[in-house]
Symmetry: C4
């Protein structure tokens, strides 16, 4: 069994489990009923993710590289505070959907960024609410406030009307800030690439002209070769004619 085969096999089941995890987590935080059922579900899914991680790394060809490329996955499994990162698997699914639809690079990046941001703000708000709700001196007391805080943090506006008071809440906040910077960077970079392309359209036209110049040159050389070949025929005839002359 290769890693590739394993990943193809587990891709959809794990995505479904990530969705179930999202639902169980949302239910636990927002409804606050059936807490023990939700916790059990979350723990079972956690064990499945650990099993997947262990199997994946044991199947990997180059374990060191795989380990380095999947540090975020390890973090999301080892530290309960970062377990919402497991939902990044949902973003990974976009990769599958995309491969078939053949979108352009920029379109794909935009799709990833938008989905990741929506997911991050939703899950960040949930996690923040979960850890802050009962802290003394907290200002994040319901989901609406948590969503508002997540937006204010991710966009780096930071009014300060609400800010986390627990260390777990601050960890989540740092995660959202970094995500926010990444978001701004990706949007700017994608736009820059688009504008550079738009502006260089004219330059491209000039390049096409150069190309056509080369093509024209190529056809000139072809004509020239023809001319030289006809010349050889002429000379061949010339060589034949003196021979004819000799025979006479």
């Amino acid at each position: 069994m290769t890693l590739n085969k394993w990943q193809r096999m587990t891709e959809w089941p794990l995505t479904v489990l990530a969705l179930v995890f999202l639902l169980a987590y949302s239910w636990e935080v927002l409804a606050r009923t059936h807490v023990s059922l939700c916790e059990t579900t979350i723990n079972v899914i956690w064990i499945v993710f650990i099993v997947d991680y262990v199997v994946s790394i044991s199947l990997a060809h180059d374990r060191k590289t795989w380990f380095k490329n999947n540090l975020l996955l390890l973090v999301s499994i080892m530290l309960p505070i970062f377990r919402p990162l497991r939902l990044l698997r949902l973003v990974a699914v976009l990769n599958v959907l995309n491969r078939t639809s053949g979108m352009a690079v920029r379109g794909r990046i935009t799709l990833y960024v938008c989905s990741s941001v929506v997911l991050l703000i939703y899950v960040g708000s949930l996690a923040e609410l979960d850890v802050e709700r009962n802290a003394p001196g907290t200002t994040i007391t319901d989901f609406g406030k948590a969503i508002w805080w997540a937006f204010v943090t991710t966009t780096t506006v930071g009014y300060g009307d609400m800010s986390p008071v627990t260390w777990q809440g601050k960890c989540i906040a740092v995660g959202l800030m970094i995500a926010g910077i990444a978001l701004i960077s990706v949007i700017t970079a994608t736009l820059a690439s688009w504008i550079v392309d738009r502006v260089s359209d004219e330059a491209d036209k000039r390049a096409n002209e150069t190309e056509s110049e080369t093509t024209r040159l190529s056809s000139n050389v072809a004509e020239l070769t023809d001319a030289v070949n006809r010349l050889r025929d002429d000379i061949a005839k010339l060589r034949e004619s003196p021979t004819a002359d000799d025979r006479r």
Copy 2:
């Protein structure tokens, strides 16, 4: 009747209606007199926009694509809180004015961004003032404060001396934050494209030299062709002269 024809027909009337909407909305929020007249005007214009949306989608060739490309339009029609988005039609008019004046890509982007930002800050302030003014615990109590808050939010500075307390106000704030990030991104991207171009001026000069190298090569081949042709003439004369020789 095609969608194109419909859009050309309705372009100017709808722009005028958007302007009337802006005036009625400003009057209602700032002057707070003739509220019922303003409301009626706004509602009539709303119905016209719904009619335009329905006609447009029924005339569209590929309805699914049109629907996807005009999600923002649907949002601005369906949700009263987002009705200021209808004013984006005023920015769309710039498109028409521009097409004729033949500005460069970067000039056009700059013009769009500046107009959109001015419009967004103005309308965002209006909308924020409208929903926050009478909320308990609000800090946004007059138009000057609303404008100041809109600037602080859009530039992502976020002092926190004023921040929305109602959920509608928070929605508008999120809109302004996203607009602010878009603004920073567009400015950065446009500048980056400009600097890349400036720096690559030298590279362009080198490219021109390559081009001239190709041109020189082309003229070399032309000379060569001439030489070969003269050669053919020489050989033709050579063939003639032995014939003359034969005859003697």
Copy 3:
């Protein structure tokens, strides 16, 4: 007298006046002595700047374009609140110093941005202190606090420990925010251009190879032309020899 000649003539005197303006303004705000002398100096310089504006626009070839390109200059002359903008003339002097030293585009942009930011933060703090100092409820009470506030605003951090309370102070704040966004944009764009160049060094090498391929091709064609010419000589000799044959 042309506009160019006028500008060359007035460049240094106006720069010196801008420096005097900076000193008088700093003295007035920071030392708060000789206020009337400082005010007189500032007003005299103001009149000189108005005269320069009027003479410049009357000498301009295309007055409409000149007017559009110098809107910021007009604003700095007409609105007392924006008079610190007159100091941008000091940044303009860098242009002169630079033209001679032949720096690269990116070096020049970096120099401009750093000087402008230092000047803007200094003058912004001065102006803010000037208008806020005696306002009721102000937090910006000395120059150190004003500098700190200017940094917090320009970098878009916006703690909110200090924020302007007067409308003039808010105008200056908006100016600094916009400058801050411009600053971030210019830094990012310059860096992006630098990285793109670094990465494309390899691509450049490949381009050089293509160029050398063209050069090699060109020399091949030259050799070929030589070959054809020698061929012509051979044929010429061939033509001569039958003539020699004839004579015998």
Copy 4:
């Protein structure tokens, strides 16, 4: 002794000293025991750094250029408040490790930025805690809060729940803000370069086609040269045959 040799000789000892400095500084601020031992260590290392600076500048070929390129080093030596900058030497070591591993430009930039940011936030928090801890009215009272404050500042979020009150603390804050802007810029620029490359892959393919066009042209010219050479042989045979004719 040249500057290069001196730098190679002192590279590792100075890096170790920078590490010892980091440990002594951390111990002094966090443990608050053995303060006088830590202070002595820091002062001894300081003297070593001054000696290195003096020796380096006296060995430098072009002292003015070296002075300009090492302003930050001078600042870190002269001003006690900026002594954490000495730790930038630790980042400089990455340069050595990197040169051998042959990473690509973007990979190297990413590595530098991540290490610098981690180091800056850690040392910034330490320094901030050191100067703010005992100030009246401070909010930064333990290391956790200082780290949280450093993140909020560097990402330019700026909630304002904590902000420095001493002028030294504000200097450090300005340093972190500038670092934050640099961080956002570098991330954006690196991403922009990556996206531009990804998008231009297609354009590259087209460029390759042009190259192959040139290659084809080149082989055409080679064929043509062959044809002309065979032509010369034919003519040479032609010249020989009449001579043979003459002998007969």
